[in-house]
């Protein structure tokens, strides 16, 4: 446990606090993220947020009051030492700031970009809680520190303990696995990451688009893991290409399953198997992983004129903004609840609107109409109203009878959620799997499954979560696996 009080009492922190009175700090306004022009960016795939300059970051760091009780930390699933890294920025020790974040977070440049900060750290910031003012831009500052470190060419590779020669395996190569692999490598284990696809990175590669998370950022993180001795094996499906038992025979002593929520859900409505209707997984995989929009690559994608994306999460926003970039004249979100209930990050909703995406909230498709070639032409959409709160605490949508109308659509992307991938769970006999959700059941203390040498985390345990929660699982499971392996001696 970090002693936040003792750290805060250190001379350098005290000196910084005294350098600007708290009152003056609270009068400063929150920094605005420089962005690519909203018209220009509709026709390119480059990152939308450009990142803070040094000057902007330092100025924003002045707003942080270095609270005696840093509630922001409690809002972070991996408890990044937020006040310390922000004060390092204020002291212009940017590399120091990055290394503070890296004490707890494996992928700061990624989390700084894709975490829903407004629901996590920033929602617990003193400004939000007590002053009713915009929170300190913790996410922007995290990204700044991580980018500064990467671009400085002085990226620190975490120190690893002496190799102990014990072989361990991560299954899947998304954020949960990368975090687990990093921690296990640090503890001296001989780590191999097995990936079913041809590229390492999981959802960071196939799911999140370039304009939100440039792939080179993910690649740098993967290279660093390589420098720490982590081995990567693509095109290898554990449970098919190699079984867990075979890996045990080959000397692997512990496993971390983080194969993700690979199975897309459809709505099972009339006409949904028409051509031009995709799962968001398919649509995004074609464009992100397979580079379908690039004529140099062989994989095709349908570039729709009128595109409907069904859903209100981040994947829906990623899909609809991708459609816009592929040249859609109309790109529409169709979501059955109201905008308030949308699970997507605020920033993504905001960016989508700026890019000209239309929002048909309180609307829900009930059928699709195709031409004689089986190509979707129109969606039949029903209007909804909000009823009583449901199990999720959100007001549940109720259909309005007789409100159906038709919208032209030559492309439809269904982004209504995913289920855990069945391949690995069905290949391990005796593994405790939730019969309904198909998720792996683990001990929440250490992410251990009912089979002692098998740990699990990320979406295959949670059924659908965020990068940071997956990473947190990876870290907890690494602690758990380490303790388990030490108990064997």
């Amino acid at each position: 446990m970090i002693d936040y009080k003792a750290e805060r009492a250190q001379a350098w922190r005290e000196e910084l606090r005294k350098s600007i009175p708290a009152k003056e700090r609270t009068t400063l306004s929150r920094v605005e993220m420089p962005m690519q022009d909203k018209i220009q960016r509709r026709s390119n795939n480059k990152e939308v947020n450009l990142g803070l300059t040094e000057e902007m970051a330092v100025k924003e760091s002045h707003r942080c009051l270095d609270c005696a009780n840093p509630t922001c930390v409690t809002g972070c699933p991996v408890n990044v030492n937020i006040p310390k890294f922000i004060k390092k920025i204020e002291a212009k020790d940017f590399l120091g700031a990055a290394s503070v974040i890296k004490e707890t977070s494996t992928l700061p440049a990624v989390c700084g970009r894709v975490c829903p900060q407004e629901k996590q750290c920033e929602s617990k910031c003193f400004y939000t809680q007590k002053l009713q003012k915009p929170a300190v831009a913790i996410g922007y500052l995290e990204r700044f520190a991580a980018d500064y470190e990467r671009e400085s060419g002085k990226m620190s590779i975490p120190e690893c303990e002496k190799p102990n020669g014990i072989k361990v395996a991560a299954i899947g190569s998304g954020p949960a696995s990368l975090a687990w692999a990093a921690d296990m490598a640090r503890k001296g284990y001989d780590v191999t990451v097995f990936e079913a696809l041809h590229e390492i990175g999981g959802v960071l590669k196939y799911g999140i688009p370039e304009f939100r998370l440039p792939k080179k950022i993910v690649d740098v993180e993967i290279e660093n893991l390589g420098k720490m001795g982590v081995k990567f094996l693509t095109n290898t499906i554990i449970g098919r290409t190699i079984s867990i038992d075979t890996l045990r025979e080959r000397g692997f002593k512990a496993f971390f399953i983080a194969a993700g929520a690979g199975l897309p859900r459809f709505m099972n409505i009339e006409g949904e198997n028409a051509n031009g209707i995709f799962s968001s997984n398919e649509y995004l995989t074609r464009v992100n992983l397979m580079h379908a929009a690039d004529p140099e690559y062989d994989t095709p994608v349908i570039k729709g004129k009128n595109v409907i994306v069904v859903g209100g999460g981040n994947t829906a926003m990623d899909s609809v903004r991708t459609a816009k970039r592929l040249g859609a004249e109309r790109a529409m979100i169709v979501y059955r609840r109201s905008e308030q209930e949308m699970p997507a990050r605020l920033e993504e909703v905001h960016h989508a609107k700026e890019e000209g995406v239309e929002f048909l909230t309180l609307n829900n498709p009930v059928a699709y109409i195709s031409n004689d070639k089986g190509q979707v032409q129109q969606a039949k959409i029903q209007k909804m109203e909000l009823g009583e709160p449901d199990a999720s605490g959100r007001r549940s949508p109720v259909p309005i009878e007789g409100s159906e109308y038709l919208v032209d659509a030559d492309t439809v992307v269904v982004a209504v959620g995913v289920s855990p991938n069945p391949i690995i769970t069905s290949a391990i006999e005796g593994l405790d799997v939730d019969p309904k959700r198909r998720t792996i059941t683990v001990n929440p203390e250490n992410n251990q499954s009912n089979i002692p040498d098998i740990f699990a985390g990320g979406d295959i345990v949670r059924g659908g979560a965020t990068v940071i929660l997956a990473m947190g699982d990876g870290r907890k499971a690494a602690q758990g696996a380490d303790e388990y392996l030490k108990s064997l001696k």
């Binding site: 696809l197 199975l263 580079h291 095709p300 349908i302």
Partner: protein, 276 residues
């Protein structure tokens, strides 16, 4: 990276490859398929495994030149490397003692049929195989199929080899003369559709192996979805084999045409660029 060990032309458009893939050779079973990506810019294409040699660590696949990727693959040679090979994917064939098994293969569908014929024979069944193609040149793996069949019937559309007529003509002949307990059909979607209609008429349980469009092949994308018994199923993880009498072949045929125009344009461009 997987090395091509052996290449053999069955005809101008149909090529067999023996590819190094020791882990897959070790774990694959009849009915499994692999996904290949030829180079860094390639698409992911599913191909059913025809044979495997666990000692040499190789698998055998057969490919027909249809689109850009299969043209590119057919142009590869012994010693070349395929960028990615992943598998074995899909559920293996359910092999059991049925009695008399009618095994129908159309065109390159005979390649995936081969290990299934072998497995049914080894499980103690009487196996009657029907190999069908447009003409003599397109009949493949006849000797190999003969090795594991009690009888082999050849059907060609133009009568250039065996009996003249489509596969269902041969099927009707067999069904008319003896009791068939189980049927498996692998080939083009349209052929499987008519095989299914034929056996449905005679109430013979039948399985088909579907070859839909896929991207990842691991259940992630749903490109391969098809209605079976009124429910949407994923060919890659729920199949590739399904009860032939419950598959919505019309929907499947429609879905397989999703990229027809793009495929045609891409192939034209490829042929022009390579003087084919």
């Amino acid at each position: 990276m997987n090395k091509i060990i052996k290449k053999r032309f069955f005809s101008e458009n149909v090529v067999q490859f023996v590819v190094e893939a020791p882990e897959i050779a070790r774990t694959r079973k009849a009915g499994n398929f692999v996904i290949l990506r030829l180079d860094e810019k390639g698409e992911r294409i599913p191909l059913t495994i025809s044979e495997a040699d666990t000692e040499k660590g190789t698998i055998t696949i057969v490919v027909q030149r249809i689109g850009v990727s299969t043209f590119k693959l057919a142009a590869m040679n012994e010693g070349d490397y395929i960028h990615d090979v992943v598998g074995p994917l899909g559920h293996p064939t359910h092999i059991f003692k049925a009695g008399t098994v009618l095994a129908c293969g159309g065109g390159v569908g005979v390649a995936p049929l081969l290990p299934i014929v072998q497995a049914f024979k080894e499980a103690g069944n009487r196996v009657v195989s029907i190999l069908a193609a447009r003409n003599k040149d397109l009949i493949i793996l006849e000797d190999e199929i003969r090795k594991y069949s009690d009888e082999v019937i050849i059907m060609t559309d133009d009568g250039s080899y065996g009996k003249k007529g489509v596969v269902t003509v041969g099927m009707e002949d067999v069904i008319a003369r003896e009791k068939v307990d189980f049927c498996i059909a692998i080939g083009p979607a349209i052929m499987m559709k008519f095989c299914a209609l034929t056996t449905q008429k005679h109430e013979i349980p039948t399985v088909v192996s579907l070859n839909t469009i896929m991207v990842d092949g691991t259940g992630m994308c749903g490109a391969c979805r098809v209605k079976v018994d009124g429910k949407t199923r994923f060919v890659c993880v729920d199949g590739p084999e399904f009860d032939a009498h419950k598959v919505d072949f019309n929907e499947m045929l429609m879905r397989m045409g999703a990229y027809k125009e793009q495929e045609k344009a891409a192939l034209e461009a490829y042929k022009n660029a390579n003087n084919i």
